[in-house]
């Protein structure tokens, strides 16, 4: 009985605090990372883990009841939907020729803000045709 909280509430607070750390990390990553692929990594992994930890804390806080089963189903949908959405969006970006961030491209980006790509093969030509999708 620390600070007037029972053991159940202390465990729930620890789980939700861990989830809160992951949510803040995901937010900072979405704002600060340089590329789409690195940003989708921040949102796909950390966001899912933080949300699941907060849901688990809510289940522990609520106890054994009807609402806990519903929260578990919601957590299952988030656990299925968020990584699948992130993965299929990253796959769509890669298939349509979205440029991957490297250190060289970062220097070019600071100098000219226009990525200079050389069209050589047939695949890259098709990717260049899809380039208006990204602007």
């Amino acid at each position: 009985m620390i600070f007037g909280l029972s053991i159940q509430e202390i465990i729930a607070c620890l789980l939700m605090g861990a989830g809160l750390i992951f949510l803040i990390g995901s937010m900072v990553g979405m704002l600060r990372l340089p590329d789409y692929y690195s940003r989708v990594h921040a949102s796909g992994n950390s966001e899912t883990l933080g949300t699941l930890l907060v849901f688990l804390g809510l289940i522990v806080y609520n106890g054994y009841s009807n609402v806990s089963a519903k929260i578990f189903i919601v957590a299952l949908f988030v656990f299925l939907g968020n990584p699948i959405g992130s993965h299929i969006l990253a796959k769509a970006a890669y298939k349509t020729g979205h440029p991957v961030w490297t250190q060289k491209q970062a220097v070019q980006h600071e100098l000219s803000t226009e990525p200079t790509t050389s069209v050589t093969t047939e695949e890259e030509k098709e990717a260049q045709a899809n380039a208006d999708l990204h602007n």
Binding site: L20, K70, V74, L80, I84, G85
Partner: protein, 87 residues
Amino acid sequence: MHIFFLVIVVVLVMTIGLMMQRLFQGPTVFDRMNGLGVITADTILLIVLFGFLDNQPGMYVDLAMAYAMMGCLGSVVLAKYLGGKNL
């Protein structure tokens, strides 16, 4: 305990407000979709936390369940549309 719920609600609302910048100003269309996915996942959590703050979580959890199903489908369908025929 409600103070702790309020802290998480404030962080989630701040995240949604900052993702609006990613949503309206993102360099590519995939960044916009990514921001929309983050807003969806945060809103589901926010609805459940509002239920706990309101002391009747049974009603809000059903709304969160419906919203989770819609968010799961919408991202996949729009990615299929953006990715072309070879996805």
